[in-house]
Symmetry: D2
Subunit: 294 residues, 4 copies
């Protein structure tokens, strides 16, 4: 077991880590991983695992407290990682995830995310909001978040916007990109670069509606539930792995405009939940679907 | 005002009626209709109305108590009906609606409907269950409901089944046909004949999935909400006016089979609610959508 | 019918009004009221009524469009009002309701109310926020709302605070007082003065818990649903007529602190809904309970 | 590793087991337990754990597949169990739990439980229904379940009923007692004997109401949510550890009778969920609360 006492004789502080990993499913994984944790004097405080029947892969998320450093944990894990072909990620619980927010004119999602951050309920930090309209500037300013406005209209503007996204990701060491009603189609190239770390939010209905003006269509069919879906962005528009969905009941008295306001509330709740789970390392990708270790 | 005292000197009993009507929207309708109700000594106990912006039609549902007979009420309404071009329907509150149930092999919807009838929660009576499989026979028998089994497979079998449906509707003076997981495509002719009085139930998802084996597709996409939609049957398969929708939350641990069981529970609740509202004259058609006067 | 053409020959604009009224239940009320509406050329666009079995009183809410003025409508209603002993209220649909917000240190409810107002979803205007702590000042300032801080601690401080409430109500012609986590017991005198126009929000549980630190108690019992109740304030602490309730599912993994954060989200939604309904004249008092004409 | 090949040379079948255990929380438990599982060639297919901050105890539930027998698994676990002071339970996944149902006159819960068993959704078997009224006899008979009627009224009747419960538990090797609207106070002695294996269901409200006729009280206060709570029975009436809670939205138009019907639906869903989780070994007791490993 590695010593929790540093060379200076001062005891290391106890830290809570979150470890997520995935590998091909076979016997002995949990025993081997927990063996490495015992080695560094770790105590497991939370654990979820899932064996995906469709992909035959094994997913696990652990929280552990220990006085060992991240390097010591990684060293202890190395033989296990090599033996089982594990892809893993180690982080400190509660560390704010560096998040780039892309917006447009709609305020509801951005207002909620920033309020939750301020309230201490959402473990992210937002070094920059980038938008193709100036609307969000006062909101960003109130919360003390840098804001940039870059139009997406005009020859080459969209490509320039996406290049600014790439640069901002580098500058700020961004781990998560949130499309908070950004309302632009992301290029297939950027989708590919952001695979598994870019979350979009859109309205959803029972049953689904294709095409323009879905709230008008939903109104015409007399839909009774308005929902929202938060998902990872892929080049298949609005079709990436689903992270969270929520619905709100409506009735025939609602105008298309009111349906839209209700849809916005569903979007707020659903995006907040998806971002929270992501920031807590609770979202793992299993092919076209997500494992959520709530 | 018509006298509530019959010729014998015995006071007529007070009855609660439900009146629903629809006409082109213009001023004075409610005043005129309530005038007819005052004329028969009626007291309005419940009232809902809706002016449809999309169709410019006016919908109303009233419950009233009076000692007048249905004929007396109809007579008082006649001038109003003619003046405003009203289509109306008068019924006694709580009168069981004669309902033909079409089933197949799935029991969950039929079990719930019959249990709710027995418990006194669902104001319908079921003079016959017609199914293309014998599976539902014991359940029907336990509840004392006549049951007929008529296959839909083979040359002309489907047409014969639908002819039996037509005959049963005549024999039993059927007001509502419920497709309780009947699982057969109804012919366009029968759909047209049953317009506005045939309710179907099917699973629903956020977003929708087209094609076969939707639970497998929902599983593959990692859907987080499983729902059901009860709607009026039209020749557009699964696309008629929606009466009710409900959802149940699921997660990645559910197998396609478990998703199906949860979907069945959503179907049970949703169909029960739709049939209850229909039987209470709370469902009115407004083109492709429904007005629900809950 | 009163002329919709003013003396100048310019046609009066069409206005949508909301009329709410209550009286003892007896036949002919709706006919008489709608007669007055016909007289002023009004067209009823929405209508709900309820006959309370417990109090034998009749409640109604109507929306109507007309070119008549409020005075003309009132004049037409006068004979009906006298005949049936009606208490009534006439307003213009969508007119912002003058609302005094009382707060303390918690921001979640105030943030949401002000955001909804800005987004145009909540028909109130807030001329003043009054709080016993300075915490809400920046939030008020961002939304351009005057803010006053007046402590409630110390000899006579509470009475002075309540006197300032009374004065602010007069100055700003306040119609609604919202206790947005004000966290102080309102004196019986002020409760009585504000009867039916002061809304409070508090957490709620299945089952209820009495006494201090309810989230800790809820945690200890392993409660599975965290809720909130918005109600009119009465001198019976937390026991006034309920306007709205909502719940959010939780599980054993939640700490008392997380339960509190979830409870805050339930409070936000519930208070927003209650205030919206009040501002739309959809909340009527029926003794110890409310009629909500959604 | 124990051999999966039996002496006859025929490979043993692979069986899925569920292992639940609890002990004082300290490092190394998961590693030790999974070591025993590796020893018997087991593959962990599902795992949940929880460290209770309030009781400092560690709870875990594992599902594993192996060709080893239950005896072989127990043998491999013995040193770990002794070292950590573990209380554990090993079972085969999906084995029907022997369940005694106690009823009275209400049918809704019993109908649903028996239907779910027949549909294959609820892994219990019911060898006997015991009731203090004859009402449930036809329902029991339809599902082929033995039924006994024993009154609880009269001198010594209640004690005789409880003695019959004790005898039935012995005769049928009962693992779970379900009070499906049994409506009788269980003696403190029987409560103690059935600790942790007797589930009760009752209605719940936001906020709670004490005393008789709660639906009438809920109606009087204008409650907006009707719920139900399933909990383990303790001698504190209706106050045992909560297993599941659910709510259904209502409004002012509902009569006390309708509120009761809605409450019954909430009871049905809630009890079904609680019994399902118990039968799947997903419910662990942590003092006055439950850990639910969904």
């Amino acid at each position: 077991m590695s010593s929790p006492i540093a060379a200076t004789g001062v005891p290391s502080p106890t830290v809570e880590y979150v470890l997520t990993f995935v590998c091909e499913d076979r016997p002995g994984i949990v025993h081997a991983v927990t063996g490495a944790i015992v080695e560094v004097g770790g105590n497991i405080t939370e654990s979820r695992q899932f064996e995906s029947g469709s992909s035959h892969r094994f997913y696990m998320r652990l929280q552990l407290t220990t006085t060992a450093t991240a390097e010591e944990i990684a060293a202890a894990l190395t033989p296990v990682v090599e033996r089982f072909g594990i892809e893993h990620r180690l982080d400190v619980v509660g560390r704010p995830v560096r998040t780039l927010v892309l917006g447009s004119t709609a305020k509801h999602c951005v207002n909620d995310l920033l309020f939750q951050v301020d309230a201490g309920h959402l473990p992210i930090e937002v070094p920059l909001i980038l938008a193709n309209h100036p609307t969000l500037e006062p909101l960003a300013s109130f919360h003390g978040i840098p804001f940039e406005h870059l139009p997406t209209k005009g020859e080459g503007a969209k490509a320039a916007f996406e290049d600014r996204v790439r640069a901002a990701i580098d500058e700020h060491d961004i781990e998560l990109v949130v499309l908070a009603r950004y309302m632009q189609i992301v290029s297939p190239e950027l989708c590919a670069e952001l695979a598994g770390r870019c979350i979009n939010i859109h309205h959803s209905f029972l049953p689904g509606f294709k095409g323009a003006n879905p709230y008008r269509q939903a109104h015409a069919r007399g839909v009774k539930q308005i929902g929202a879906t938060a998902h990872f962005v892929t080049s298949d528009l609005d079709e990436g792995p689903i992270i969270e969905q929520d619905v709100i009941r409506v009735d025939h008295t609602r105008s298309p405009q009111e349906l839209m306001a209700i849809g916005q509330d569903a979007e707020v709740r659903t995006l907040r939940q998806a971002v929270t789970w992501f920031a807590q390392s609770r979202v793992l990708l299993d092919g076209t679907r997500t494992i959520i270790f709530r």
